[in-house]
């Protein structure tokens, strides 16, 4: 006998992992795909932080368009019924919603495992306790640095010390804690300090995520793009920490792809094993998909069920599988491994979501993208365009010492 544990993590797992395939209802043009194990719920786009690397679309959803409490509860019930196992409450900042505890309680009642993805700056100890009591299973808190001056500047909000406090409450309440650290040119020098901070906060896990350039992040690319040397140092830092902290802190590493040779298998492939629901109820194959203009995404407010939308949405079927691929993807030996990379990045960089992701060295645009990254890293402005509903605000002239 030899017991085995297979990681079927939604984003990183092999899609052919034996997850049962749902029966097809209606004539879908694509193959049928099993209902994802986990779904990201973007409750709102409202957020007190203004991070320039936000992956939300630049055109954000107003609060008046957000799904109501009743609608979100119906969604949660339906997700549990069709076989979703986990939900991630996210945003924007999900705790802006006054009904968050109620929604967590409902997720628990229908048998869903709930994760909270939060900036933490609006939480009180009482409210966090109420969430834990309502059955919250895990909390992920974002950090912009390990030193308040820089962290607050990146966020455009003085929240760093509050985040540390909330992380402490989470541990006192026994909630598993993940530190999320989004890394870019202006905070990569703090990575060793951020990892030490996660250890001293008693986090179980840290996600070291390089900025992915869609939405606000694309707008701020020149201020965020790391140098090639920074990337090499970062990889060495992470690998050393993984070895040193084995059994103490799990470290997940999202590598930057502008400097890579192979593109990332984005979301495990378009519409294969993941979807998210936007504040207004649209079902997207990834949280950045609305940056691709011209696609119509179906909504939970339509008269279709979520399972029907997952199987039949035209936008989801558009880039599913490999049939849509042009050359060089079409004849490529890697096409089933990375599915041509990221559709949002292909759109952002080539104007056509159906092209090969330029992060791939086989893309005719690869060289050019690599050079752009190098150049922006070397000469780009350090001033951020802060994320807000007004379409962004340029950071004031830099303060000395930052």
């Amino acid at each position: 006998m030899s017991p085995t544990l297979t990681d079927t993590s939604p984003v990183f797992a092999d899609p052919n992992d034996g997850v049962a395939i749902m029966e097809s209802r209606g004539a879908s043009v694509a193959e049928t795909y099993g209902i994802p194990l986990a779904v990201l719920l973007e409750l709102t786009h409202r957020c007190p932080l203004q991070c320039g690397y936000c992956s939300n679309p630049v055109e954000m959803e107003r609060s008046s368009n957000e799904l109501t409490t009743v609608e979100w509860k119906r969604v949660l019930t339906e997700l549990a019924e069709i076989g979703v196992l986990q939900v991630h409450f996210s945003g924007g900042e999900p705790s802006v919603r006054k009904d968050l505890v109620e929604l967590i309680q409902h997720a628990t009642d229908v048998g869903l495992y709930s994760n909270l993805i939060t900036s933490a700056v609006l939480l009180t100890r009482d409210r966090l306790t109420a969430m834990a009591d309502a059955g919250l299973c895990h909390i992920q808190i974002s950090f912009q640095g390990n030193e308040p001056e820089l962290a607050n500047r990146v966020a455009g909000f003085k929240g760093h010390s509050k985040k540390l406090e909330v992380a402490g409450w989470a541990r006192e309440l026994g909630l598993p804690l993940t530190v999320n650290a989004v890394m870019h040119r202006q905070n990569l020098h703090q990575l060793p300090g951020i990892i030490d901070m996660a250890v001293s906060l008693d986090a179980d896990r840290i996600e070291v995520a390089n900025v992915q350039y869609y939405g606000w992040a694309l707008k701020n690319r020149a201020a965020l793009m790391p140098t090639l040397q920074q990337i090499e140092e970062m990889t060495a830092t992470v690998e050393a920490a993984q070895a040193r902290l084995h059994g103490i802190l799990d470290i997940d590493f999202v590598v930057p792809d502008y400097y890579a040779l192979r593109p990332k298998k984005c979301m495990g492939g378009w519409g294969r094993q993941f979807f998210n629901i936007t504040p207004s109820g649209k079902i997207l194959p990834c949280h950045a998909a609305e940056t691709i203009t011209g696609l119509e995404f179906d909504s939970v407010r339509s008269n279709h069920s979520i399972a029907w939308i997952w199987q039949n949405s035209e936008a989801l079927n558009l880039y599913r599988g490999t049939g849509w691929m042009p050359e060089p993807c079409k004849g490529c030996a890697f096409k089933e491994q990375d599915f041509g990379g990221c559709r949002c990045q292909a759109f952002a960089l080539t104007g056509n979501a159906g092209n090969t992701d330029p992060a791939c060295s086989f893309s005719p645009r690869h060289e050019e993208i690599f050079k752009t990254a190098e150049q922006e890293a070397a000469t780009g402005t350090n001033r951020y365009i802060y994320r807000n509903f007004a379409g962004g605000t340029l950071e004031p002239e830099p303060v000395d010492g930052l």
């Binding site: 048998g111 495992y113 895990h138 084995h246 799990d250």
Partner: protein, 112 residues
């Protein structure tokens, strides 16, 4: 597990080093449940779903915060009619993997 000079790590203090005397239980935020729609057992952990095989499920079900690892190994050795040492090595290795991520924790130490 911590080497001298490693930073002070609160997690290191609550991480379990699995021994036969350990009494493991699932940590908060870790759920073992049967997934009706896929007809298989799953272990739900933060932002991940782990698919344990049949034997792993059996072991996880025994992690009730009451039983020692030694007792579990005895039970499994009988159930699978296999050499105790072999079972012991496999069980401890699987548990240590989960303990390293904080998914399995020590309920209490039994007297040695």
């Amino acid at each position: 597990m911590t080497e001298p000079g490693a930073p002070l790590a609160p997690a290191a203090r609550r991480r379990m080093v699995v021994a036969e005397t350990s009494v493991p239980m699932l940590a908060r935020g870790v759920r073992l449940r049967f997934d009706d729609s896929r007809q298989r057992w799953v272990l739900l952990v933060p932002e991940r779903v782990i698919a344990p095989d049949e034997i792993a499920v059996e072991i996880l079900q025994l992690c009730d915060g009451q039983r020692s690892v030694a007792t579990m190994i005895d039970q499994l050795a009988i159930a699978y009619a296999a050499p105790r040492e072999e079972i012991a090595a496999d069980v401890v290795a699987m548990m240590q993997d989960l303990a390293h991520s904080g998914f399995l924790i020590q309920a209490k130490e039994t007297n040695p």
